[in-house]
Symmetry: C2
Subunit: 242 residues, 2 copies
DNA sequence: GTCTATAAACCGATAGAC
DNA sequence: GTCTATCGGTTTATAGAC
């Protein structure tokens, strides 16, 4: 009986995987807003009603795809983080950023699903937030490690306005209490800015503007590293020693 | 007869405006991918076939909405550019960025239409590019004016890699030949990064992360100004005089 | 868990009368 | 320029047999 249940569960996860795979194909062709359970079923040769045994509604399928996408981009970032252990902090930063960007370029539609315009009428449930944070946490880890090793400089930019400071002090104290508040602020801004670069590339805004996109991205990511206080590896310090 | 034609044309532009207005409402409710001519007609109390006299296809309506959105964001940027004439370059930069951001926050769905995930199956025709460039040109104008007035510093960051340099030299020479290539590179990167900040705010990625979003945006925009070589207004120069 | 059948909608686009 | 009518599709979701 446990063998039977094992077989059943295996079959179930296989069908679930096939459904998600086909759904991802449709995501590319039709977009998240027009993702259709019926079309997925048709392509898979099953009755549409059978799908409801796996995903009780269209939104549940969408949620599963979103979590998968966040997990995939998070895993790519974590892999880059682990692979660069011991390297210069600025190079680790660039490596993690590059992993995020490479994943996005390889999976443009899944990227758009999570970092593009929200799907109208769909509200992401709480289950997605843990997966959503994984990418950011890898970038934070680079900075935290640099701080631990005593090689974190001050972030660039003017002193923080009071309102912003209070705001990010609260965020920092629960997430990375060992980092100075201005560093947390620079980190959040840099995080958003990395995705600005990625989105412009993936969404076609660089068409006819930037050709060598990989090198351009690396160049820009290096500047962002300096902005959060990670000195360049080549010794040409951007920041005063202080 | 010219009076009649005048009246006809007036009626036509009025109906066209009503169609676009209703379409924008649906954009918010359903998203661009599900924009439906039929639903627009129903809401306006006309037969669906009547719409085809104004827009020959769904994609043509979409194109009109996209051009309108680009023009609106471009006009907001140009207005800020004109309003800050004579101010310190960094403040002008922040002012134009702020205008872009404010427009996006006020028109999230139209913003998503042009700067979010592309609409699947829709390819923007050439007509959109002139309108699309208007926002960028305002930011470029700030830097060009600073250069003209002799107050443009070198951009932050490492020297450009050769590939990137060639690429942006070509872009710069046809767009703003008076700017150094590294400045052009910093400008393009900053342009994308501004939209990273805006998109994160508009698309909800800052929910639960950043509270005081206006001040946070200004803070980040100021750092970007320094990155492209616009010294802060308060005299605390970030860059060496050189 | 899968099927058929069905309800009750919806879509873009066109033809042709007025 | 607006209408009705129509073509040939589409959708989510449920009921009930097997």
């Amino acid at each position: 009986m446990s063998v039977i249940r094992g077989a059943r569960e295996r079959a179930r996860t296989e069908v679930t995987a096939a459904i998600k795979e086909e759904a991802r194909r449709q995501l590319a062709a039709e977009g998240a807003a027009r993702l259709s359970l019926r079309a997925v079923a048709r392509e898979l040769g099953m009755a549409s009603s059978a799908l409801y045994r796996y995903f009780p509604s269209r939104d549940d399928l969408l949620t599963a795809l979103i979590i998968d996408a966040y997990d995939a981009v998070g895993a790519a970032a974590e892999e880059a983080l682990a692979a660069t252990e011991g390297a210069a902090p600025a190079d680790r930063w660039i490596g993690v950023c590059r992993a995020l960007r490479d994943w996005a370029v390889d999976h443009p539609h899944e990227y758009g699903l999570v970092y593009g315009s929200p799907v109208p009428g769909y509200a992401a449930p709480q289950d997605t937030v843990a997966s959503a944070a994984r990418g950011a946490l890898s970038l934070i880890a680079v900075v935290r490690d640099a701080r631990r090793d005593g090689v974190l400089g001050p972030p660039q930019g003017r002193p923080l306005a009071g309102e912003v400071r209070d705001d990010l002090a609260a965020l920092g104290s629960e997430l990375v209490p060992e980092l100075p508040v201005p560093t947390v602020a620079a980190l959040v801004a840099a995080w958003a800015q990395v995705f600005g670069l990625v989105s412009f590339e993936v969404f076609g805004q660089f068409n006819g503007v930037v050709g060598a996109r990989g090198p351009f991205f690396d160049q820009s990511a290096a500047a962002l590293a300096a902005q959060v206080g990670l000195a360049p590896a080549d010794g040409a310090a951007v920041l005063p020693a202080k």
